[in-house]
């Protein structure tokens, strides 16, 4: 994977957001806020952080990326297409009959998807199993990255995994919480309060790094710091803006599980191309 400059990474994230809007509009269903908020993190992961090869998705030295909150998979599909796993044109098959791009990701359908996910709370346990297996196999330079939603932390399964990873000192796990403060029924702190989230993870024996999840440079640095931690699993709490880049979606929990219609998509694409009207776009 050729390395990109920071500016190129930021431009790539915008292109990925544009594809997310087009995919969701075309599909007519799916989740908008989470994928847009995660675009910078996924750009950083696929174009800088992860050891991977789009031409050899089963490469046995690759880092593993799990997406525990599988409903945000449009961002993963769009980033994978940009990274060269498949043609961008296939993105428009999202959620259609016969597509490899299922509404929630399935391992058997698309090479490069590491696990079938969607029902929440399972990814961290699977990461722990993978990390244990890597240790048994004496693979010391591989990491398991696992992206989770913040609403997903309501699931008890997550905290069972948190205890296990801490007990076995699985420092080859790097968890990433998409801390966007919304879930389906409203703000996380009114649905089921999570704070103090950093204290919770530290109490469970994890090393915690807090970062602006919409700052690509800061997120890449956080991953480098996470890889340097020994004897503890690491949780990166990545603060993101849900719906990032689209003015009428930002911070609005109603966009958690809804796609844009045609006019909304047009406005969203305009927002993305003009940095919400701050600059002129050549497309205008």
């Amino acid at each position: 994977m050729p390395s990109l400059t920071l500016q190129q990474l930021e431009e790539k994230a915008v292109e990925i957001r544009e594809d997310i809007i087009r995919m969701l509009e075309h599909a007519g269903s799916g989740h908008s806020a989470g994928p847009l908020g995660l675009a910078d993190i996924f750009t950083a992961l696929y174009f800088d952080v992860l050891k991977h090869d789009p031409k050899k998705p089963d490469w046995d030295e690759r880092d593993i990326l799990l997406l525990s909150n599988g409903h945000t998979v449009p961002v993963r599909y769009a980033t994978m297409a940009h990274a060269g796993y498949f043609e961008r044109s296939e993105l428009m098959t999202l959620r259609q009959f016969g597509s490899r791009l299922q509404g929630h990701p399935e391992r058997d359908k698309l090479p490069g998807i590491e696990h079938t996910s969607g029902p929440l709370g399972c990814g961290l346990s699977q990461a722990a199993g993978m990390a244990l297996a890597m240790r048994m196999n004496k693979q010391t330079h591989r990491w398991v990255y696992v992206v989770m939603g913040d609403g997903e932390l309501d699931e008890g399964n997550i905290w069972e995994a948190a205890m296990l990873a801490s007990k076995y000192k699985l420092s080859n796990i790097i968890g990433i919480i998409d801390r966007n403060n919304i879930q389906i029924d409203g703000p996380t702190e009114s649905v089921m309060p999570l704070e103090d989230l950093k204290d919770k993870w530290e109490a469970f024996g994890w090393h915690v790094i807090e970062v602006d999840g919409n700052n690509i440079e800061a997120f890449i640095d956080a991953c480098a710091m996470a890889r340097a931690v020994v004897a503890k699993p690491v949780m990166i709490i990545a603060h993101t803006v849900p719906g990032k880049g689209v003015d009428f979606m930002e911070y609005d929990f109603h966009w958690h599980g809804a796609p844009p219609n045609h006019d909304q998509a047009k406005e969203a694409l305009h927002d993305l191309r003009t940095l919400k009207g701050k600059i002129r776009s050549e497309h205008e």
Partner: protein, 326 residues
Amino acid sequence: MSKSDSNLVTTKWASYKFETEPIRKGFGRGLKKAGEANEHVVAGCADLTDSTQMSLFKEAFPDRFIEIGVAEQNLVTVGSGLAAMGKIPFVSSYAAFSPGRNWEQIRTTICLNDQPVKIVGSHAGVSVGPDGATHQMLEDIALMRVLPNMVVVVPGDSIEAEKATLALAKDSRPAYLRLAREATPIITTESSPFVIGKAYVYREGTDLTIIATGTMTYQAMVAAEKLAGDNISAEVIHVPTIKPLDAVTLLASARKTGKVLTVEEAQIAGGLGGAVAELLSEQAPTKMLRIGMKDRFGESGKPEELLEHFGLTAKHIALQAYALIS
């Protein structure tokens, strides 16, 4: 008479002095042997290592054993992760909790995700005894049987449990292995056949077919000998694999005798009886009765008095056989 190619321990079921051993003991031996044969076999347990007989494996391979704690959702999802990296994980707890508590995790991360995790549910059935209904798992066969990709195995004694464990370790599919707690008569020998997906005619007959699984096969064989004394010729088929079901063997027998009695230490809805009823109703409609738990829970008591109370003994099987053929 027992069928000779089954190589069972006796032909005289009413008078033979059977040795007994908990079925789970055979699993413990099999898992250790599977671990010796393949370094990728690993084990995880939810705070029941001795009870589920994983302790033999743990002592032999401490670096390949993971103590999960009392966390059955984590147990199977960690198993999914281990399998994703090429391991062959056996994960054990009591059947009431795994697969009782963690069905959705099994569905998504093991079956749909198609990872060859082996879920071992011990202490299944009412013969758990004094612990009572909470711990007497009766719905597990039904729960596991409806899942695509899942294999369901219910051994009849400890020797067969050992063979089943070794076979599952070499099989690439997700699987559920159901084990019982109490000492159970050893009815097979080292040379008795076991292949995943095969049912075995343990006794040939012409008047009716008794189809049994797990601990109930012994009771069915004793019942068949009683029936023979009344000139009733019962065929007995042992079904250690409930999914995939051996349709060829079962259909041939049902067509021959025209009457089928199923016996299991589980809910008759969705269990072995359900599976056989589905098969026969479509391909060979046959007069049928199902013995098992009839839409109710168990309760505390000694194993033998519970089996008697719920009609899961040779005597009751024989009575139902009379009812079926009259």
